[in-house]
Structure formats: structure tokens, C-alpha cells
């Protein structure tokens, strides 16, 4: 029995010489709701495709339920336990909503008819409508229905709320949370919507340029990260070596803005030891953590 629903270590994958994944490590605890964040092109979809057995990694290991994700003999069974929402939300255009459901249902012995009825009604999906006539938001909802209704142990969702209005998003998040609470389903979702991730994820990983740069329990990360605003009377000592944990130091005039990812108290002590410096501390939200790590900044001193 594995504690981790998904595990990846040192995953590497290039396309035509360009590295998409450059040594990615990932550990998704069973029963968690895991937010996978990154800019476009950072490697999120490549990672998901490797986990689903659609791509092979050049090196490194990827395991789902303890089983090698690329093992063709065993990953069919793994997929029976996984609910998947694709990035493009594409289904068979010639089928109707009802036909797609009837097509998908027989593959999964643990299909929940009650959830199917519930979501058809909640998401307002007309059974007789052709997939090609559905908007992107409707297709997102249909894919979610298909993923959730088969009692999956693990949901892998690529931008699940793409195309949905705020009320629908709230409905979806509430259903995901209800399922997590009642069935202990592990959820791994990639998203651009930081607010959604902050709302329901307990673990996160930020990926940039093919590697994981921040990972951990979201609440703990928020407790560890601190923003410091320092106003100086004198210049900083030349060649100052900041303590471990200082991530970004930016200076404009007499004001320095500094982000610490951990050791906040030691950082505060170091600032306190600078003569002629006044200091303010602020808590840091996910958006700030994300932007600090994935954006390049000309004013950065570190």
C-alpha cells in the first residue's frame, strides 16, 4: 500500500532537443487535493501525459498507485481507477451527451447512476444534444461528469474549470470537495486559477521550466513565506550575504522588498542587525509566491 497516489522523480523529457521536463520531482499524497501550477509551457501537460501513459519519459520514474506509469500491461487497470479531464475537453463530436455517457459507462464497473443523474441536472446538460453543438464550458462539465461518476480513486484534471462562469465554478469546486470528503478521492489538478487552487488545494507544486520549484502543504508554505519591507538610512553593506531562505531582494531607492521562503525569524534578526533599517513584515499569499518564483525581474539583486 502506497502513501502516494502519484510519484515522480527526476523526470526528464525533451522534444526535438528542447527540454520540456528537466528533472521533475512530484509526490502527491493519497487523499489530498493537489494543485499543480505553472506558466504555459512550463511542463504541466507533458507531466500529465506521462502519468497517463501517453508519453514516455526520457529518464526518471513516474508511478501511479505504485505502478510504473509507462507499463502497458498494468496501466490499463490503473486507468480504470483514474478519472481524467483532458486539456482540450474534446469528445466525439458526432455523439450526443447521452450517447457519450452510455459509451463510457460500460468501461467502469463502479459507475454511480445517482451521481450521473445529479450532475446531468446540476450542470444542465441536455442528453440529446450533440457534442459538436456544446460550448467549451458544457464540455468541461460533461468531462467532469464522466470522470467523477465512475468512483475513481484518483482524479487527474487538466484545467477543469476552463470555460465555466463563476457560479458554475463554485458548483464544481463544491462537488469536488464533497467527493473528497466522502470518498477520500485523491485529486490532482493543474490550473491557472490561483484562487481556485487556494480555495480547495491542501498541497501544491509550482513547476517552471520543467522543474518543481516550490512544493508542499499550502498552509505550511503560507506560514513559512514572509515579505519584508525595509527602509534604509544607509546603503546595504557591500557583498552582504543573506541568510538561507531569502529568495528575492529588490531595491528601489531607499526601500528594499525581500521575500523569505523560510527561516523568517532568522531573516528578521539579520535585518534587525543592520544599522538604520526599519522593517515591516507581511504574510504572503499564493499569487505572490507564484509570481515571485516564475517571473524574472530586472530589479532583482538575488
Amino acid at each position: 500500500m502506497n502513501d502516494f497516489a502519484i510519484e515522480a522523480s527526476a523526470l526528464k523529457r525533451s522534444f526535438g532537443g528542447r527540454p520540456a521536463l528537466d528533472g521533475l520531482d512530484l509526490r502527491v499524497p493519497a487523499g489530498s487535493i493537489f494543485g499543480f501550477l505553472g506558466r504555459n509551457g512550463a511542463g504541466k501537460t507533458t507531466t500529465i501525459k506521462i502519468l497517463m501513459g501517453m508519453l514516455k519519459a526520457d529518464s526518471g520514474a513516474a508511478r501511479i498507485f505504485g505502478v510504473d506509469a509507462g507499463d502497458p500491461a498494468r496501466n490499463v487497470e490503473a486507468r480504470r481507477r483514474i478519472g481524467f479531464v483532458t486539456e482540450d475537453k474534446e469528445l466525439y463530436p458526432y455523439m450526443t451527451v447521452d450517447q457519450v455517457i452510455r459509451f463510457t459507462r460500460p468501461f467502469f464497473p463502479k459507475w454511480r447512476d445517482d451521481l450521473e443523474r445529479r450532475y446531468l441536472k446540476m450542470f444542465d446538460l441536455p442528453p440529446g444534444k450533440k457534442i459538436s453543438d456544446l460550448s467549451k464550458g458544457m464540455r468541461s462539465k460533461l468531462m467532469l461528469l464522466l470522470a467523477i461518476c465512475h468512483s475513481a480513486e484518483l482524479l487527474i484534471l487538466d484545467e477543469p474549470t476552463d470555460g465555466l462562469d463563476p457560479a458554475a465554478i463554485e458548483d464544481v469546486l463544491r462537488e469536488l470537495v464533497a467527493i473528497a470528503a466522502s470518498q477520500g478521492t485523491t485529486m490532482f489538478f493543474s490550473s491557472h486559477q490561483l484562487t481556485e487552487v487556494e480555495q480547495i488545494a491542501d498541497n501544491i507544486c509550482i513547476i517552471d521550466k520543467g522543474r518543481s520549484i516550490v512544493a508542499g502543504v499550502l498552509d505550511d508554505l503560507k506560514a513559512q513565506y514572509q515579505r519584508f519591507r525595509i527602509v534604509l538610512e544607509n546603503d546595504l553593506p557591500a557583498g552582504i550575504r543573506w541568510v538561507d531562505g531569502v529568495e528575492n531582494v529588490r531595491q528601489e531607492g531607499r526601500t528594499i522588498s525581500l521575500l523569505a521562503s523560510r527561516n523568517a525569524d532568522a531573516v528578521a534578526a539579520q535585518i534587525g542587525s543592520l544599522s538604520g533599517a526599519t522593517m515591516e513584515r507581511f504574510p504572503v499569499g499564493l499569487k505572490e509566491i507564484f509570481l515571485e518564483h516564475v517571473r524574472s525581474d530586472e530589479n532583482a539583486l538575488v
Partner: protein
Amino acid sequence: MLWYKAWREIRWRGLIPLAVIIYALVQIPLAVRANPHQSARGPLTVLPIFWLVVPVMMGGSGVKTEPVFQPIKGMEGSMYFTLALPVSRFRLLAVRAGFGMLVTAAILLPCAFAAGMLPQLSGYAGPENGLRYAATVLLCSSGFFGLSTLLSTVLDQIWQVWGGMAAIFLSQWLVATAGLPKAFNVFQAMGNASPLVAPSLPWDTICVSLGLGAAFFLAALKVVQMREY
């Protein structure tokens, strides 16, 4: 439900060759009536091409070619949904190919039988003639069916069809210039050496076709297992 899906994705691909063939068959009596002195040889050399169009169109069963036609730009993403299902790639290919074979048989058998019954081609021979011709056409097309299946695992829909057509003409050219052994000459087997003309079925070509078809199909299976999407 995979069979239903295969049927839905194949529908239009089946109608086009059928229409073309019916057109061709209708042309034969008209052409012969116009030129009563021309022997059956003329149409018989051309007819095989029409037959071979069918397996070329029907062989597109690799996962890359779903859905069949893409009327809306960018709808090829449904293959990710299919690949995420708990179905082995082998089964995905096998069901679509199996259905393709059924449709191929459904088109070729009656049409070839009808051709075999055309007096202009076979004289007034009995229905076993038609049956033997139909069987020959079907069995000898298996090589191209396998090849199309293999092509469809690596090429997009349109390119797979062009590739198959190119293969038809390439093999005809090879036969004419490079002098392949007679067993490989599918055109003769369906044309001038066919049961319409010769006394027995061209067993050597049938065996070669079946062998090649199986080999190509196995290669297609291997490709589909290894492929990345």
C-alpha cells in the same frame, strides 16, 4: 460501445468508395456497348484499382485518425479521451480494424459478385463464377488493407489515404517495370488472371496477400503500442 464508435467513424468513408464503384460498374456495360469489338480486357485491367480503393479507405483504423472527418478545426483531441479509457491500445486498433474489414467485405463481395455476373466481363458463366471472383477480390485486397492500417498509425487521415493510393500505383509500376514474381501481382489476380478469365483461383497471390496483410497488421499493432500522443 467501441463497435458503435467504429461504425460512426467509418460511415462516410464507406459511402464514397461505394459510390465510385457503382459508377464504375455502370460504366462497363455502357463502354462495351459503345465499343462492341473491344474485349473484356480493357475494363478488367482498370477494375482492380477501384477494388483496391476500398481497403485503402477502410484501413484507417489507427488511433491517430479519429475522428474520421474533422469538420471542426482542432477536434482531433478526442483521442486523448479515448487513450485515457481503461482499454488497451491493442483493443482500440483491433475493433476499428475489425469493423473496417467487415465494411470492406460488405462492399467488395456484392460489388465484385455483380461485376462477375456482368456478361461483358465473363460471358454468361454461372453464379459460381461471380462468387469465385468476389472471393478472389476480397482475399487479394488484404495486403493493402494491412498496409493502410499500418499507415494510419503514423499518418493523419488525409495522408493515409493518399499514401495508400500511392502504394497502389507504386506497386503497379513495380509490377510493370521491376518484374515482381507473379504471386505479388494483385492487379492480374483481380484482372486478367482472375477467375473470370482463368480456370482457377489465383492461390499464390491470395497467400501472398494474406501473408503481407497479416505482417502489416502486426507491425501496426507494434507501432500503436509504442506510439506517443
